[in-house]
Symmetry: C2
Subunit: 331 residues, 2 copies
């Protein structure tokens, strides 16, 4: 049988109120003897507080919802890990949800999290559809956006990365290295990340007075398979190109594989540049030149920001983290 605060109260000859105060270290005006007696009994009986009951009255669950597209994409475990580490440090736990970039799954999860009364939600928003934003607006729970931006009212904070300058720097690097016909195999342009990176890509080309060739831009998903399919589409299209900038590393790695299979050498024939700097990007052959995103830090900062918002009930902060180009051998 679970032992409760009542059992302790009875045994110690005090009221439950007193026990509660002692256990939570709330009311300082309690005699040392009583305090120690209660604490001792609690320890002896191996008392475990019932957080449901507590939450019911305090309206605080010390739980955070983390909703991500897909934990299987190596970018997200890092992020999740950062989030969890900070959460743990602050006494929070994390409920995690994979949306597969499916807006129905997303809103279903958001509702479930609302029922569970999580204190806050950290969200990498999926496909940016009407209905979804509706339901986000309805949501009463503090929301912190991470990675992808979106225009919703009750956002309590954002942790973003400067995708524009990340992409700019990458493409500029390619240009400085002498590449002129740079293809871009991007993720879905329904995400702000993809849009911003596209912005960086075009700006870099413009600044070098290179005309943008839309036949060189291929839009797909942020998934490994798209690296293969995108490369094939690109090759089939017969446009000339000497480098490929990729929406993320997962794509880039599979671009390289596909090129190799066709006996196209990287970087001698074609240069490939990725985005994310997932840990396996340095383990492939050739090691991938890529734009480093501080995934762990993003998760960490998001939780930090959220808890800060929760504690102080102010909002609006946007944290913008920097990327940096990691030069390896694929360019």
């Amino acid at each position: 049988m679970k032992i409760t605060i009542k059992d302790i109260a009875r045994e110690a000859n005090v009221s439950t109120a007193t026990v509660s105060k002692i256990l939570n270290n709330k009311d300082q005006r309690i005699s040392k003897e009583t305090r120690e007696r209660v604490l001792l009994i609690a320890k002896e009986k191996n008392y475990i507080p019932n957080l449901m009951a507590r939450s019911l009255v305090t309206r605080k669950t010390n739980t955070i919802g983390l909703v991500l597209p897909d934990i299987t994409n190596p970018f997200f475990p890092e992020l999740a890990r950062g989030a969890e580490d900070k959460a743990n440090k602050e006494g929070y736990m994390i409920m995690y949800c994979n949306t597969d970039d499916d807006s129905e799954k997303e809103s279903s999860y958001l509702e479930m999290l609302a029922q569970k009364m999580v204190d806050g939600i950290i969200l990498t928003q999926s496909a940016n559809k009407e209905g979804n934003i509706e339901s986000l607006n309805k949501l009463k729970i503090p929301l912190v956006l991470i990675d992808r931006d979106i225009n919703v009212k009750n956002i309590k904070g954002k942790v973003l990365v400067d995708n524009f300058s990340g992409a700019y720097e990458a493409v500029d690097y390619l240009l400085k290295k002498g590449y002129k016909k740079i293809a871009y195999i991007t993720g879905p342009l329904s995400t702000t990340t993809a849009i911003e990176r596209l912005g960086g890509y075009t700006k870099a080309l413009e600044d070098s007075h290179i005309l943008i060739n839309f036949d060189l831009i291929f839009e797909g998903e942020y998934k490994a398979q798209w690296g293969i399919d995108g490369t094939n589409e690109l090759l089939k299209s017969k446009v000339e190109f000497d480098a490929i900038f990729c929406g993320n590393d997962l794509i880039a790695i599979n671009v390289i594989r596909t090129l190799k299979e066709k006996n196209i050498k990287v970087p001698e024939d074609i240069a490939v540049l990725g985005y994310d700097n997932i840990f396996l990007s340095e383990m492939i052959e050739p090691p991938l030149t890529t734009v480093n995103q501080p995934a762990y830090q993003m998760g960490y900062e998001a939780v930090k920001l959220l808890i800060d918002v929760l504690d102080n009930n102010k909002d609006g902060k946007t944290i913008k983290l920097k990327t940096n180009l990691v030069i390896r051998k694929s360019v």
Copy 2:
């Protein structure tokens, strides 16, 4: 303001009991009109049940704890994904925790999960220390082990993989290919997985009448860094070897990298064989020959088993999944 069952009751001129019964579809003896009226009001007011309050009386949270060593190890996202998919399908949510194979973190998490009153816990047990097993025994929550076996009383089920035969098949394959001096860079022998794989390794050698050379066995962690360090130790030790069997793919991939850096060719000079078949194992050069573990399925089955146990209150089942050798180019 959150609207509650009371608000609905007032508006519909019925008692909260009636509302509760209708919302949960419990008591069939309720007139159609009342039922529909209540349902309508609930929908209109966008009623969201408070799961805390419910859990307090039903003693069920529909939440599962998933405690893993490290989500950053690519084996685990797959597993976590499988777990989450099944959980979601059954109306459960998952709280996830990284232990870093640190037994203190593990027991701290287990206690937190107990406080949150999760219905069950799925555990990949960390370092197999005394105190830990103690605290597991004390735990009152249904426990399903996954991946790593361990001897604890109140286990409600296990989802394991046949590590012995997996390793046996792998080493046997190396032997059949003509390799005779097979080094083994293993994970921590405090885990049952490592022990069982070592068993498969030795048995395969014995069956081929090859004497086991303990100088060829190097024990470390299931981490990327150990692939580098282990290789260096092996090379420094000056024992002769023609193949390396690795504790997992993360190790194997870094073994290959390290060998390459020293201009040792894989597989021409040295063959390398991994374990896990994480998705990046086919993306490296050369693509890794490895033992496939059904990570996704493991997670899926574990949740299935746990929910089954929860619903029917029986226990004891052990599911043992099969591995299979995936032949690529590293041998």
